[in-house]
Amino acid sequence: MISIAGVELEMFERGHGAPLLYLHGGAGIVLDVPFIDLLARERRIIAPSHPGFGKSSLPDWLDSVDDIAHIYLELMDRLDLTRTDIVGLSIGGWIAAELATKVPQRFGRLVLIGPVGVKTGRPDQLDIPDVFALPQDKLDRLRFHDPAKNALDLASMPEEELHIVARNRETLALLTWEPYMHNPKLKHRLHRVNVPTLFLRGASDGIVSAEYLERYAALIPQARTETIAEAGHLPHVEQPTATAAKVLHFLQSTQAAETSGARS
């Protein structure tokens, strides 16, 4: 636990090597552990549970993704992360994008997996389907390529874990309810992100569409997009090996490019 501005942050740390700040998605960090372990073979993973998620506390004053970004600015100072790579998933991708607009010089590479956070589409259509107005089975069909195999089995989940699922959902609603899943200012700030950025999504993702990802990526000068086959909104859960390989490859290749002075 690390205490910042009244938030007790639950921290996961794994592996050795160059630091990689890992920002989980709306379902919390527990599901991500196998994927984190894969990344930890090559990097030192620093993974907080966001305020209000997992066992991290949620103070009364905190109610936005931007608030969390400010908590993590302090976290980076405390951990002496003067320059780090960052991986963010879904709402974690949104937090990563906010962070990168504030202190771009503190980041080496960004990987945003199924990120939310901007609104680029038409006003008369939600960019992101309303996850708070869908029955669980429909939501699972949007979230997973193969829901039968990968969706959480809530019926057989121990009470303590269910409590965390409920708490994660509550915090997700608090942070993303309105404006829904985005910060209207963010798209006007992303031009500041002058670091190589990889946008990833699962090919079957029903939450973050291919079009959304392309439009998001177009807001960052050095960004490109890639797709992971046979995966939905949580490619790191459905295809952990393929997803980890893509992430590590991107982080390594750009490191190599930088070392050789070939950075574009």
């Binding site: 107005a133 029955p135 669980q136 809530l154 019926a155 708490r167 959902r169 915090t171 997700l172 309810w177």
Partner: protein, 400 residues
């Protein structure tokens, strides 16, 4: 005891329930025929006027994007009633304060109705049921905090008379609060708050507002009232809680004969049987505390509507204390049994119209209640009584 006729202004002309997902939130309004709707408004308002003629007070409420209650702007109907009625108290229960962006606007609406009705407004506040958060785009998290800040702000707006005041709170910001008109009643109209959990009731008791609870039955009501009384006493309001601080809402139908009563009561069950709402509309994240939500999550696949329908019988509803129905004698006894069970309440909120209960049946129910039950209630349960006395003195005797 005061009795209040409450009608939800339902629109019952719907296709079979298996043809739609939900009666609330997602039901397309092409189903709503404005001509039929206009006739219904006339009818429901007429029924409130019958209630007034019979000496029964008037209550209305507000819901959104639903066929169960086509009154999405209750202050509008309240304004009409303020001009159409002369003597009845007018209870709005209530303004969904956690879902409205401008509490000061609510204060203006309420002051206006209070003046229009020459001081007959009873001003109720509700947090808003869970299916209201999507229509209102209202964050389901921290609703209680918003509700209380809004209510306090409305009281402040209603009682500040010396030029602009301001409010910079957690959820609401108003730089210039100076409402015109100000309320007719001083310092402000009586305030009511509804809650269905003990947690909220203690806070309402501490303020001394009227606490209303809906369909909580023999099982749920005692803890709510106890919590209210505890809050009242701990706030230094004295030991005795007047019964007129507590209200109970039930489905009520009195008939001259058992058969007539049964027929009316069956139709009132529409309140429960028609309320087809899928679970994801019922439990938006944060609406209930996480530990409670955690208990609901594994049941995500349960068809709650089917379960409700199976349980919705007149006998079960009477047994649970959520319905008082029968001959005048039977209805009186049922109400007395609830009164004694919970330690007394001063207001009976009568859900007296639902679905296909026709106009003449609704009017007969109101009249039979008003003429043959209500006088006995007033006599047996005077407004000056103290709530909790009987139950607590019994308990004291047991301990002694």
């Amino acid at each position: 005891m005061k009795a209040w006729h409450f009608s939800e202004n339902a629109y019952p002309y719907l296709p079979p329930a298996d043809e739609y997902e939900s009666i609330r939130v997602s039901l397309p309004n092409r189903i709503y025929d404005p001509k039929k709707g206009a006739a219904l408004y006339d009818r429901y308002i007429d029924e409130w006027l019958v209630a007034e003629d019979e000496g029964v007070e008037i209550m209305l409420n507000e819901h959104h994007q639903t066929a169960t209650c086509v009154d999405p702007a209750a202050p509008l109907v309240l304004a009409a009633l303020a001009r159409l009625t002369k003597t009845a108290r007018l209870l709005i229960l209530g303004n969904p304060v956690a879902n409205r962006r401008q509490p000061v606007r609510i204060a203006e609406e309420m002051a206006m109705v209070d003046v229009l009705s020459k001081g007959r407004l009873e001003c109720g506040f509700v947090r808003g049921v869970p299916y209201e958060v999507l229509p209102a785009n209202s964050n389901p998290v921290r609703m209680n905090e918003r509700q209380w800040e809004a209510m306090d702000l409305i009281v402040k707006a209603s009682t500040s008379h010396d030029g602009p005041v301001s409010h910079e709170g957690r959820f609401f910001h108003h730089r210039n609060i100076n409402i015109w008109p100000r309320p007719y009643q001083q310092p402000h109209p009586p305030i009511w708050v509804s809650t269905t959990t003990p947690g909220g009731a203690g806070r309402v008791g501490a303020r001394g507002y009227v606490q209303a609870t809906f369909l909580t039955g023999y099982r749920g009501t005692p803890a709510i009232y106890d919590s209210y009384r505890k809050g009242w006493r701990e706030a230094g309001r004295g030991h005795d809680v007047p019964v007129n601080r507590l209200a109970y809402a039930a489905l009520v139908y009195a008939g001259e004969s058992e058969a007539e009563a049964r027929s009316g009561a069956e139709k009132l069950l529409w309140y429960m049987t028609a309320n087809k709402v899928p679970l994801h509309f019922c439990y938006p994240p944060g609406y209930v505390p996480a530990p409670v939500h955690a208990q609901i999550l594994p049941g995500a696949a349960i068809d709650q509507h089917a379960a409700n329908r199976a349980n919705a019988t007149v006998d079960k509803a009477i047994e649970a204390g959520i319905m008082f129905a029968g001959t005048p004698d039977q209805v009186f006894r049922q109400i007395k049994q609830m009164y004694d069970h919970v330690g007394g309440f001063g207001h009976l909120l009568i859900m007296g119209q639902a679905g296909f209960l026709e106009h003449d049946e609704t009017v007969r129910g109101i009249k039979t209640f008003a003429r043959e039950v209500y006088p006995r209630l007033k006599e047996a349960f005077p407004d000056t009584a103290v709530s909790g006395m009987r139950q607590e003195s019994l308990a004291a005797r047991v301990v002694a």
